[in-house]
């Protein structure tokens, strides 16, 4: 009897080991595994869900690379930087992915890249725009523009088009993206001769901004720049309207989520932002194809975050094809030589520094919708 038990236990252990080490026996012809880590829950869940929808769409449009099927493995990073680092660790050590796409926000991407760098696995963020994300990194890339460009365009727009001279800032100081972007805006705006009359702060997840708004109103600015994420921005606009603030409000790519309008309602009418993509400004063939597919499947309008999720996928597959390999170092070399790739969000060039050089759109909320105003080239 005892020997039967022993052999059953042995078989079970063998199965367990096999199930963990399965991918180790992977051979050519097997699936190419792409790990995806995104905030599917938590404070910025909208970004993660939109980007994941875009990646899935791109995967349907191009399900194979180098003659092998592509397998996507999603891990939720819960809008938390420790979870983000754990997610990448898990994707590499347990799922043995060939490359990684993620994540939406800069701080969380920065928390995760050291692990991918060490394993020499290329990691592409769709929307981490903080310049520090790719600094001193070899395997880290992105398919979005970076924040110095964004801060500059916003400052120019505020100064020249809105004739603003006195600006106020309300910054989410829990996010590297928000703090750094605010600095780029401040530097450009003051260099042009504008003045920053108030700088105040909040934290991701805050819900009451009445005190900050009152303090801002007391200094009589003529523009409020909000370099934050959509949830905070929507509540800030709502409370600003209630407190009687009537100046233009401008934000950045982090605000382009449908929730901004759903939560903000009438309070976000006229809200301006610099963004990655708007379908009215779509130019490439891939974009048109993508928009048709996406809106057919998800019954939602394609927008910035899903388009960049799709671009991260397309750029990665393009690099694998040029490298004729899925090995980390080779894919990395090909990624750094991405030239004039016609992605969904426009033409993408990626340099040795890992950053994408591409155009930006200026949007405004009108009648409860994001509306395209202009395209700005770098």
């Amino acid at each position: 009897m005892k020997s039967v038990k022993l052999s059953v236990a042995f078989v079970l252990i063998a199965l367990l080991v096999a199930s963990f080490s399965g991918p180790a026996f992977a051979q050519a012809g097997d699936a190419v595994r792409i790990g995806v880590f995104l905030p599917m829950t938590g404070g910025v869940a909208s970004y993660g869900q939109m980007e994941w929808a875009g990646i899935q769409m791109a995967n349907r449009m191009k399900p194979r690379v180098l003659g092998r099927p592509v397998e996507l493995i999603l891990v939720d990073e819960k809008s938390d930087r420790i979870e983000a680092a754990n997610a990448v660790d898990r994707l590499i050590s347990r799922n043995r992915v060939h490359a990684i796409i993620g994540t939406a926000t800069s701080s969380n991407t920065m928390a995760a890249t050291p692990i991918a760098e060490k394993a020499r696995i290329p990691i592409i963020s769709p929307t981490a725009t903080d310049p520090r994300v790719t600094q001193n990194r070899k395997y880290t890339f992105r398919v979005c523009f970076i924040d110095p460009f964004q801060g500059e365009v916003a400052a120019r727009f505020a100064f020249n088009s809105l004739k603003a001279r006195r600006a106020a800032l309300l910054i989410d100081r829990a996010q590297d993206y928000c703090v750094d972007l605010a600095n780029f805006f401040r530097n450009n705006f003051t260099k042009m001769g504008g003045k920053i009359v108030q700088t105040t702060y909040c934290q991701t997840g805050d819900q009451d901004f009445t005190a900050q708004i009152s303090a801002i109103m007391a200094t009589r600015p003529d523009i409020l720049y909000l370099p934050n994420y959509y949830a905070e921005d929507a509540l800030i606009c709502k409370q600003a309207a209630e407190l009687g603030m009537r100046i233009p409000i401008m934000s950045a790519d982090g605000a382009q989520a449908p929730e901004l309008i759903k939560i903000g309602g009438k309070a976000v009418e006229g809200f301006l932002l610099t963004g990655h993509f708007e379908k009215e400004g779509a130019a490439t063939k891939l974009a048109k194809q993508y928009i048709r597919n996406y809106e057919g499947k998800f019954k939602m309008e394609a927008s910035g975050f899903d388009a960049l999720g799709a671009d991260a996928y397309f750029v990665l597959l393009n690099a694998m094809e040029r490298a004729k390999s899925v090995e980390g170092p080779r894919v990395r070399a090909a990624l750094a030589k991405t030239r004039k790739f016609e992605g969904v969000s426009g033409v993408i060039n990626i340099g040795e520094d890992g950053n994408a050089v591409k155009s930006m759109v200026i949007l405004q909320v009108k009648n409860g919708k994001f509306r395209y105003l202009a395209t700005v080239n770098p």
Partner: protein, 295 residues
């Protein structure tokens, strides 16, 4: 720095503090009677908001019916949580109950993420509450006035229940000595379940007010208000219902004044709130209205 600016800040502080107080009342009620810090209180508040949300958007109920139903359902959820999670550890050491409360909190948050999805949803606010009054340069949202009135009414009702009903007397007895109360023929489990029902109903009411004020709900929305309400409850003297209300108001006003007068320090707002908690625990652990038991 003119008068209307300061007055506006005090109003802002009272409207935020009133909400903290409303949530803190339920917190402190359960603690006062059971000596249990119900860390799931903020998450029960979140559940209440989702009940109200689905009542309006899925079952197209009028807002008042949906809110009322949400309060009742949340009270029922409170009873279920008591029966399922707290009753089995009632006679275990207090630390076990505390750990159970943290477990319930995580359970509710993650259940919320699975059932309601992590994306925030816009909450409904009846049109007439969105009116803004302007008195001497100070702007007040009608909702803030009504939520403050509701808070006072709820406080009155809870005080009445505790002091002037047989159930309330039984609650106070349980707080004093559960074993003896049991020997006197009181159905302790029923009274405790009722306590949870009242506490959860207050949480739902507070949550709905909160969600109308900050019209965005998500499954993790209860964490920070829950913690702030905990600070308010300790500040007021944990276990003391009136104290919780005062503690909430005080905390709200301190937070708002700090941010309004020192906008550059606004990032330290939560840190200040929790520093207050530490200071109170160090120097006056019984809080402002310092008694050991709910009077």
């Amino acid at each position: 720095m003119d008068f209307s600016f300061l007055a506006q800040q005090v109003i802002n502080g009272i409207s935020l503090g009133g909400l903290y107080g409303l949530i803190a009342v339920g917190y402190t009620l359960v603690y006062g009677i059971l000596r249990l810090i119900n860390f799931a209180h903020g998450d029960i508040m979140m559940i209440g908001c989702y009940f109200a949300f689905y009542g309006i958007f899925m079952f197209s109920l009028p807002w008042w019916a949906s809110f009322l139903l949400a309060v009742i359902l949340t009270a029922a959820a409170g009873i279920l949580i008591d029966i399922g999670a707290y009753r089995p550890v009632r006679n275990a050491p207090r630390i076990s109950a505390l750990i159970t409360a943290i477990g319930v909190s995580f359970l509710l948050e993650n259940l919320g993420l699975v059932l309601f999805s992590g994306r925030p949803k816009a909450f409904y606010r009846p049109e007439f509450l969105s009116e803004i009054r302007e008195i001497a340069g100070v702007r007040i949202l009608d909702l803030n006035i009504w939520s403050f009135v509701l808070t006072l009414v709820l406080l009155g009702v809870i005080l009445f229940i505790i002091h002037d009903t047989r159930t309330g007397r039984a609650m106070r007895c349980i707080a004093y000595d559960m074993e003896t109360t049991k020997l006197m023929g009181v159905d302790v489990n029923r009274i405790i379940a009722l306590t949870f029902a009242i506490g959860s109903a207050a949480a739902a009411a507070g949550g709905i007010m909160w969600a109308m004020r900050y019209p965005q709900i998500n499954p993790l929305m209860g964490i920070i208000p829950g913690l702030k309400a905990f600070v308010a409850a300790v500040l007021g003297g944990i276990g003391n219902v009136t104290g919780a209300m005062l503690g909430g108001l005080l905390l709200g006003i301190i937070e708002i004044l700090l941010v309004a007068l020192r906008p550059d320090m606004a990032g330290y707002r939560d840190a200040i709130a929790f520093a207050i908690l530490i200071l109170i625990l160090l120097f006056r652990p019984t809080g402002l209205m310092g008694q050991k038991l709910p009077d």
